[in-house]
Every structure is written in C-alpha cells, then in structure tokens.
C-alpha cells in the first residue's frame, strides 16, 4: 500500500494554551489536530494534572513540512519564552496525502 510522506508535529504544553494553539494551527494551514490530556515534568517543574492550570496537553498535527515549520516558529516566538512547552517533529506515512 502506498503511504505518503508527511510530518507529524507534536507539542506538549500547558493546557491554558489549548484554544490559542488550535487557532494558530488552523490558521497556519493544518487540516486537523488531535489533543490528549497529559501530565509531566520538565524545566518548569511538575505538572501534576490535577487542576486546569496544572495540566498539560499533547497536540499532534499531521501536515506538510512547511506547515510544521510555521507552527514550530509560531510556538518558538509566542509561547516558548513564557510557557512550559516542548515540540518535536517526525516522519510518518499517511494513507491519503490530500487529506493533510
């Protein structure tokens, strides 16, 4: 089966940013996104997940390389300085290239 090359961009950050990130993601050209509640720890300490502002989300976006870069740039400039946030990209193969 032919899988088409795309990028998978994953963002883990504070849940207060969910609404804003979703808007950014759509504005920058992605055709969809998936969100999962998470907890975790990093440079900004432990996010235990008990409260809304103590909770992380994980957002996954399958998209083209340029869209992934645009979203990454937006995160780096707008959120990375002040919020707990990590971001990584990887290569994935998708079924219908035109969907993404």
């Amino acid at each position: 089966m032919p899988f088409h090359d795309k990028k998978l961009l994953t963002i883990v950050t504070e849940s207060v940013l969910e609404a804003r990130l979703v808007k950014d993601i759509q504005r920058l050209g992605a055709h969809g996104y998936t969100v999962v509640d998470a907890r975790g720890g990093g440079a900004h300490g432990v996010q235990g997940g008990a409260w809304s502002f103590d909770r992380n989300i994980r957002i996954d976006v399958v998209c083209d390389a340029q869209v992934a870069e645009a979203i990454a740039l937006r995160c780096e400039q707008s959120y990375l300085p002040d919020y707990g946030l990590i971001l990584y990209v990887s290569d994935v193969g998708v079924l219908r290239a035109d969907k993404f």
């Binding site: 504070e14 207060v16 235990g48 997940g49 008990a50 809304s52 502002f53 002040d82």
Partner: protein, 310 residues
C-alpha cells in the same frame, strides 16, 4: 474553639500528601466539586439578595470593588520590594482577589458560632474577584512596552469559569427566589458542607505540592504570605465598620480581604502576564495563605471583629 471537621479534612489531605501517600483524587472530581461550590454559593447569595430592597447594597458593591483594587496596589508595593515587576504584579493580583473556599469555610464557621451575616457578602465575593486581576495586569504592563490584550483579559475575567458559575448561580437564585430554589436545596444547601469537606481534602493534597515550591522561594514570600492576610483583614474590618456591616458581615469581609485567589487569579495571570513565574504566587497563595487562613485566620478574624464591635 475546636476545629471544624471540614478543616480536619484539609489537614488529612495535607498530611497524606506530605507523607507521600499515593492518595489522589481524580481531576474530574476536583472540577466537579468546584463547579458545585461556586453554584451553591451563588444560589444562596442570589436567594438572599432577592429579599433585599433599597439601593444601599449598590454603594457597598462599589466600595468593595475599590477596596479590591486598593488592596492589590498595597500588595504590589510590598512585593515589589523584593520581586520583579511581573512577579510582584501577578502575586498582588492573587492577594487583591479572593478565595471562594476560604469564604465558604468562614461562613460555615460563622453559622456554627451562631453569628449572622448580611446576604450581600456573597455578592461582594463575586465582585471582588475581578478588580484585582485588572489592576494586576495594569501594574505588570506599566512602563513596559508589551501591549495588553484587553479583549482577552476581559474575556478571561468576566467569562472565566468561576465568574460565570458564581454570577450564574446568583442570578438563578435571585430570579427563582427562596421558593423556586427549594427543590434544589437537598443538593446545594444540605450537601454543601459535606461536599466542602471532600473539596478541602483535595485542597490539602494540592497544598502539599505547593509547599515544596516554597523552599526555592525563600523567607520573603513566606513572611508576606502570613503578614499580608493580617494587614488586609484589618483593612477589611475598617471598611466594614465604615459601611455599617454587622459583626458577621465584618468578619466575612475581613476574610475576603485576607484570602487570596488560587483559581481565578492563576488562570488569568497565566494568560495575561505569562512572564510571571506561577510557582511564586501559588506557593504564597495556596501553600501558605490558604492554610494560614483556614487554621488560624478565620477564628482570629471573628475575634478581631468582635473586639471592634464590642
């Protein structure tokens, strides 16, 4: 002056978490309990309001809004001594704002002592949430070059979850009145205190987590977080006397002033002053001031009010 059993639940949660028990309540329970408390307090206040007549309350509401803003300025002046602008402003917003649960415990304490309070105190609770947040953001942005997104802030303040539920409850209680609410009272009235006990158990668990953050924040934060409530309680008492409230009302207003927010303010500040470190304000507000008020402050403020009114 024995501890109310609901406060014992707080202590239980605190000790369990400090002893590193694996006790954890599901996040959905925490959210459900806070929704419940906000609606219940709102409803009760709304019903009480529906019995009031006259416009005296309106002036009191204005006075209380000014008070909230003024307290934030005082807190900022104190905190700026050691903290950067953003951290001082964000933390000041926490202290100028109020804690719904502290208010609930104080009300329960009052009624156990057989002291009455004016119904409008619940309205004060609702309106005192907000001015501190606005002043806090203004203080953070003053002199800086970052522009404030006022639309987003207004949205956060007026349409934040706690404001909507408190005000919504207030309106529903006010519209429906005592009779209309009667069928709802088995939940919102009769179960209020035991549900508060569960909520305080959770607060104990969460507070322990923030105590850890204290170590890195140093003595200054701890000192401010215990002394500021005392100062603010006195300012609240003075205002109450000026407004002509009863002993019970004065005690609750003092408690409101002494209490600091750990739901609405952190959420609003994280959005509007993101460069402030939330660990500082939460360690102070939740780690120190909240237990201080619960365990010592509340009885003390009643005693103070009684001295003033004696």
């Amino acid at each position: 002056m024995t501890l109310d059993p609901v406060v014992l639940f707080f202590v239980l949660g605190l000790l369990a978490a400090l002893a590193k028990s694996d006790l954890k309540l599901p996040p959905a329970l925490y959210e459900t309990l806070s929704v419940f408390l906000l609606i219940a307090i709102g409803l009760k206040g709304g019903v009480a309001l529906s019995k009031l007549t006259g416009s005296a309350v309106l002036w009191q509401v204005v006075a209380v809004i000014v008070l909230g803003a003024a307290l934030t300025l005082v807190a900022f002046a104190v905190l700026r001594w050691r903290l950067g602008r953003a951290d001082a402003a964000a933390t000041a917003a926490h202290y100028g704002s109020v804690s719904v649960v502290t208010f609930a415990v104080a009300s329960a304490y009052l009624s156990r002592q057989g002291v009455e309070a004016e119904p409008q105190l619940t309205v004060f609770l609702a309106v005192m949430e907000m001015p501190a947040l606005v002043v806090g953001v203004l203080l953070a942005r003053m002199g800086g070059d970052k522009r404030v997104n006022w639309g987003r802030l207004a949205h956060e303040v007026f349409l934040g979850k706690s404001m909507v539920l408190l005000m919504g409850g207030l309106l529903i209680g006010w519209i429906a009145g005592a009779d209309g609410i009667k069928s709802l009272s088995p939940l919102y009235i009769d179960l209020f205190k035991p549900v508060l006990s569960l909520f305080l158990l959770e607060m104990g668990l969460l507070t322990a987590g923030k105590l850890a953050g204290l170590r890195t924040q140093g003595l200054f934060v701890v000192a401010v977080a215990t002394l500021m409530p005392l100062l603010f309680a006195c300012l609240g008492l003075a205002t109450a006397v000026a407004m002509g409230l009863s002993v019970g009302g004065a005690m609750l207003l003092a408690t409101l002033c002494a209490s600091s927010s750990y739901i609405a303010a952190p959420a609003a500040m994280r959005i509007a002053v993101p460069e402030a470190n939330p660990a500082i304000s939460l360690a102070a507000s939740l780690g120190v001031t909240f237990p201080f008020n619960l365990l010592l402050g509340i009885p003390l403020y009643l005693w103070l009010a009684q001295q003033v009114y004696a």
